[in-house]
Symmetry: C2
Subunit: 201 residues, 2 copies
């Protein structure tokens, strides 16, 4: 069975259109997808950035917002820039990691977070909002949040971030195939999933 | 008549596959392409970089080389990494700018430079090599190089770099449409040329 990992950061802009379509692209190729939430903050900090590169480099930021707007328009996705940007994504990442990969719980929650953040421009650091998104899945939100904030789950997220840095991830979204190929960006989803499915150029 | 500008830097890795295909993509859409050589060095320096970001950030560099290798393999392009990287692209940019846009002289020279640099791994700061590429076009190489190094042409290249910074270019390749939209990267050629041709999502 072909498989790939989808590494994503909730504060990452291009992870939004990617998260909204990666599931169906993978299914169409028979690729089983493991959703891997992580944080870019520690990776950025290690290379001396205390903010998003889209804020540090204003021309890059202006381009990205316009590019994202065009991508969303072409994909029929709502788009609204959240303020502040980047959003604090720690709670959302912990909750995503606490949800089961099986049964699409983690994927569904993640899409809901992105839709709220970049589709509606809402804050994702708000605990009530995150709890409401979990509840929409038919889960016990308080129980999930408690699990998300357990020491064991916090350690899992730290390990995921360390793993991301170790395999050379420096931006999101990223597809990682079983043979260790990395594909960066919403632009590379098709290529990465084709690779994972064994269709190589 | 639909038109677009193709802004490129000879030291830019992703400009290689883009330069090799942008002409036929534009022709297929009836878009007239203006080839705009410029230098990223001054733009990078203005944001504090004294080297290519692919050298400053090693994980980004490792990813880029592998990504470029895959892109070239898929496109049937030869690929060989030049040393040192980045190459000094000043002479090549001056010569490209001194060549006529009409009659494809500038485009053909530019493709030859990229093929030598990233297809064969050769130095493009070498004056003899640049002269030989000009001669392959059936032009008087010494006359072209003299024109390239005239004060008037140097000033034109400086103006092009200032213009690039002014319109928000911070990387290459870049398509710029007549209505001022920017499309960054080899990934965006089709989208940018569709936009230039009036096919918008």
């Amino acid at each position: 069975m072909a498989a790939a990992e989808f590494w994503y950061e909730f504060a990452s802009t291009y992870s939004y259109p990617a998260a909204m379509r990666v599931g169906r692209l993978a299914a169409a190729r028979g690729v089983v997808l493991a959703w891997r939430p992580f944080l870019l903050g520690p990776i950025f900090a290690a290379q001396g950035w205390r903010d998003s590169p889209f804020n540090i480099y204003p021309a890059k930021g202006r381009y990205m917002w316009r590019d994202l707007e065009r991508i969303c328009a072409a994909a029929g996705l709502r788009f609204r820039r959240p303020e502040p940007f980047p959003q604090n994504s720690l709670l959302a990442a912990r909750v995503a990691l606490a949800l089961a990969l099986a049964g699409e719980e983690r994927a569904e929650f993640s899409r809901k977070v992105y839709a709220a953040e970049f589709g509606e421009g809402l804050s994702i650091s708000d605990r009530e909002r995150i709890a409401a998104l979990v509840a929409e899945l038919g889960l016990d939100a308080e129980a999930v949040l408690a699990r998300a904030e357990s020491e064991a789950n916090k350690a899992l997220l730290k390990a995921a971030c360390a793993r991301a840095a170790e395999i050379g991830i420096f931006g999101a979204p990223r597809l990682v195939t079983e043979d260790g190929e990395l594909f960066w960006g919403d632009d590379r989803l098709e290529q990465g999933l084709d690779w994972a499915a064994g269709r190589r150029p």
